[in-house]
Symmetry: C2
Subunit: 300 residues, 2 copies
């Protein structure tokens, strides 16, 4: 398996899907649709949608269905819309107040706050509309995908994690338990959902979905710890977003709480645990395993 080529293939498919499944920028009102596309098209790693595509392909290759396999692309686009909405709102002045994202001005800088707010709302809503419309012929699948995504994105998970993150920042300190709540929900929830959506699309059974869920949780935790490490050690040009802002905000992070060495060890442990869960699945997991390892050793 040529990891770089496979990754490139998945990312190209995601980029194509984003163009295909978003309303045209000229759709009335054009300013809103232009703003939705602006932030989506700014790039990024596309980790979540690539996980959806690769996981769906894994299951479809193990147990090819008699009929044409279900296309996972709309679900991959939906999860990227949802992730991007959370970034737009997170960057707003009343939240992290960040001017730079993926090396470009954030949505409220490029447009204005109201447009950014509404573009975020619209991307969140579009994620559910896209799932409902694209899997119209399979309402049971559509329902399962929507149920999973809505739970992962809700007040107990993604949004709850953002709220807890904000409260921890204001307190200038957070306990290890609070930090775990934040990481489990702010970051791991959507990565977990990406793997589970891929499994649902590929026809995974209950036991397989449980392995995917645990793999996602561990990958998500590793991912967030590495994010904290990079914020503390890398520079803005490398990251494509403002570096050192956690320390500047005097924010509690894994690095501040445990130091760099233990943080690195924890990230490695979660990566190993995620790999252990993937090992329990049938089929050729080499791409997913390589993706895990790339995430664990990333520098931005």
């Amino acid at each position: 398996m040529d990891f770089a080529a496979e990754l490139k293939r998945h990312v190209a498919r995601v980029e194509h899907g984003l163009d295909l499944y978003l309303p045209a920028a000229t759709t009335r009102p054009a300013r809103l649709h232009t703003a939705m596309r602006y932030t989506l098209e700014a790039g990024g790693k596309r980790l979540r949608p690539v996980l959806v595509l690769a996981t769906a392909e894994l299951f479809q290759s193990v147990a090819p269905s008699a009929t044409a396999p279900t296309d996972p692309l709309p679900a991959a686009v939906a999860i990227e819309c949802l992730h991007t909405y959370s970034l737009i709102h997170d960057d707003l002045p009343c939240m992290d107040n960040d001017d730079l994202r993926r090396g470009r001005p954030t949505a409220h800088k490029q447009f204005d706050e109201a447009t950014a707010l509404l573009a975020g709302d619209a991307l969140l809503t579009h994620a559910f509309a896209l799932l409902a419309e694209s899997y119209d012929a399979q309402p049971t699948l559509a329902h399962a995908l929507i149920r999973e995504l809505a739970a992962a994105a809700g007040s107990r998970r993604l949004i709850g994690g953002q709220m807890a993150d904000l409260l921890a920042e204001k307190k200038f300190e957070a306990t290890p338990g609070e930090l775990e709540f934040i990481h489990l929900n702010k970051t791991a929830a959507m990565i977990e959902a990406a793997l589970v959506l891929g499994g649902l699309l590929g026809g995974a059974g209950t036991g397989e979905l449980a392995h995917l869920r645990r793999a996602g949780r561990n990958l998500g935790l590793a991912f967030q710890i590495i994010d904290d490490i990079l914020d503390a050690t890398a520079d803005t040009a490398t990251l494509g977003k403002t570096a050192g802002k956690d320390a500047k905000a005097d924010k509690t992070t894994f690095v501040k709480l445990h130091g760099l060495e233990i943080s690195r060890r924890l990230a490695a442990e979660h990566t190993t645990a995620a790999r252990g869960e993937l090992d329990r699945l049938l089929g050729d997991k080499s791409f997913l395993v390589a993706l895990l390892e790339t995430m664990a050793t990333r520098s931005r």
Copy 2:
């Protein structure tokens, strides 16, 4: 039919449902869940959820199913969550910057901007989660409800209407066509969706859903024109929200564009058209018709 008693019964059921189907205020993070409940519990007319309940009951009374009828309450709560999210975000400083809503401080005044933003996001997401979870045993129905709500709330409708409204305000003028786009989408979309959701829950057929959709569109247009009339003629204490803010913002409204007399006539025409659509349905529509007429003659 005792309209006041029937309305009271529906509203009481909605209030009960809001308490039942929202996470407890103590759910972690408590500040987020407290803010979600704060705005929902502030009251309001509950027009959209009452429309869901009354429409579902109408169809269930005409064609009682052999099995227990589907409970429309979770869908009624979902649409109120969605409506309330749109109010929270609309009141934010970067949007309408309103301090008062339903006679109480708006969410960002009571909490802070970030909490209000996230509470809005969470209510929007909860609407879809609630539909997916509550109608789990009927995935085809759940899918149809979610598809309808997501389309009505999306970038071409509710959010598109809000964006267009904002752009019209900045321009200090709007053409009649722009104003119609705003009213059709910002206001009528969710009222239309309320009637259609009720129909779907009650087992309405395609033709009946089309009548419900047109009734909702006309009711929504009448509702918004009357809103403009009240903003121009009533006082803040009566409205429970800031009066005269359209004129203050030099905003184009039906009243500014057409004058009070023509606005009143247009509202009456849309009310009559909505009633005409309801007349085409079987069963006892007296509550829905009385509700229409109450809306057409309301003073707040």
